[in-house]
């Protein structure tokens, strides 16, 4: 048995642009324990609800995260609509689903790029992000923003996508799919890539459930839990099954995300073929009163919003539990027993977004 050393990992690390700090306890090159500390970017955004009225708060919540910005906004307005018992028009539901799925695609592409970067595959990283640009262009064309969209509002949407643009999106999706195919093949088939991902950081089925893992981390371990199955927005009318892989290692988690990209593209096509015409917003009167806890599925996993309103235009409490928070415990489970060189990879496979974890 070797001597024990403690090596600090992060909060500044070349692989991880997120301020996650781990104290790694090492025996020679093997990790035997890890203690996380977060809280470097705690902004207290949740507290702002007491000073911003519930319409304005939407823009603040969207800025919790730069990647899942749309889904954060969507979750927030859904929660408020649930409290106020507002039923939004069908077209708005479909449009929200389209944007949410586009968000998921671009988030997963971003992650694939970072993953390639984590094992030093720079050119693959660049190519993933090149494809992602196309999705950001769709976003800019339809919402006006590349990262922060500001299209959701309590009671519907600010912007509509006209049918011509929707058709154009379909042809764009085809191009994206064609460009993506050779890239995802690298993740799936390449020998050196598999060398770095197969059998690394195994999380078993039971561990994934017990530790409260979320999203691809959970589904990579064989648990078919996907909040989209709750049928919020338009998901109830779409045909899809949660994507599951059994192995629970880095390779399985990569596969889940890759297959989810194709699934998302398919869901967008389904949405566009089914989208009804009509209004995109309803009038909202009065202030919310009550509480609601909603669960929706983000690119990184299940995210939970809880809102408590008191009948004034300021909410009492708004709580966001982001998927990364749920995935920290599984990460701590994966780390012991791995090599020091695999730590960045493992930290990445949960797709950490620390800034949104701390709000």
């Amino acid at each position: 048995m070797g001597e024990r050393t403690i090596i600090p990992f992060g909060p500044q690390h070349p692989v991880l642009p997120e301020p996650l700090h781990l104290d790694l306890i090492l025996e020679d090159e093997k990790v035997v324990g890890a203690v996380p500390s977060i809280g470097f970017v705690h902004r207290g955004l949740e507290k702002l609800v007491e000073k911003r009225d519930y319409h304005e708060m939407m823009y603040v919540i969207e800025r919790v995260c730069g990647i899942c910005s749309f889904i954060h906004g969507q979750g927030y307005v859904q929660t408020i609509e649930e409290i106020m018992k507002i039923e939004i028009p069908d077209r708005a539901k479909y449009l929200r689903t389209i944007w949410a799925e586009l968000s998921r695609t671009h988030s997963h592409l971003l992650w694939l790029g970072l993953m390639a970067d984590a094992y030093g595959f720079e050119s693959l990283f660049m190519h993933c992000w090149r494809v992602r640009e196309r999705i950001l262009d769709i976003f800019e064309e339809t919402t006006g923003g590349r990262v922060i969209f500001s299209v959701c509002k309590v009671g519907g949407l600010w912007k509509d996508i006209d049918n011509d643009t929707l058709k154009r999106i379909i042809s764009e999706l085809k191009i994206i799919e064609d460009e993506l195919k050779p890239l995802t093949d690298v993740f799936i088939k390449d020998f050196s890539v598999q060398k770095r991902t197969r059998g690394i950081g195994v999380l078993t089925y039971q561990e994934a459930i017990d530790l409260g893992a979320a999203g691809p981390t959970l589904r990579g371990s064989g648990v078919a839990l996907d909040m989209r199955k709750l049928g919020y927005a338009a998901y109830g009318e779409l045909d899809f099954e949660p994507i599951v892989e059994k192995d629970g290692d880095c390779y399985a988690r990569t596969l889940v995300r890759i297959r989810e990209i194709y699934q998302s593209l398919d869901l967008i096509r389904q949405c566009i073929s089914k989208i009804p015409d009509g209004e995109i917003e309803v009038k909202v009167r009065g202030n919310p009163n009550g509480e609601y806890l909603s669960r929706i599925e983000q690119a990184r996993g299940q995210v939970i919003y809880y809102a408590k309103a008191n009948g004034t235009k300021y909410l009492d409490r708004f709580r966001v539990r982001t998927p990364t928070f749920a995935n920290i415990a599984p990460l701590l489970k994966m780390l012991p027993g791995s090599e020091l060189a695999d730590v960045p990879l493992l930290a990445l496979t949960i797709d950490p977004c620390i800034s949104c974890t701390e709000r």
């Binding site: 911003r52 800019e140 500001s150 690298v186 088939k189």
Partner: protein
């Protein structure tokens, strides 16, 4: 298992056109929807101050007696909310982003209504 799966893609990018554009020689085309920065058609504004009260970041300052409308460009997050709430429809979102600035004082952009002198 296969080796060098990315080879074909590499060949393509070696002989193909670059994916990036030569900025600033080639400027980016913005979409009609792009949210760049907030402008005020000051002759329509009645200085009601609604935009400043509803702005999530408190970037706008309006003074009715001075007939002044002022925006802090670096605080504004271009969320478009002020454009939606303005009853006079005097605010609009332009397609171009705020130009980079070397002087911090330039971030404040002030407009005066007609009763006073025109611009600051």
């Amino acid at each position: 298992m296969a080796f060098n799966v990315i080879g074909k893609t590499i060949m393509k990018s070696l002989f193909g056109k670059p994916a990036t554009a030569m900025y600033p020689i080639i400027k980016n085309e913005f979409y009609p929807n792009t949210r760049g920065n907030i402008e005020n058609a000051i002759e329509q504004c009645n200085f009601c101050g609604l935009c400043s009260r509803r702005c999530p970041t408190g970037a706008i300052e309006v003074s009715k007696p001075k007939r002044k409308w002022e925006i802090d460009r670096t605080r504004c997050i271009v969320c478009n909310f002020c454009v939606h709430v303005c009853a006079k429809k005097s605010l609009s979102t332009q397609r171009h982003y705020t130009a980079p600035m070397t002087d911090k004082a330039k971030r404040i952009y002030t407009l005066y209504g007609e009763a006073e002198k025109k611009d600051a």
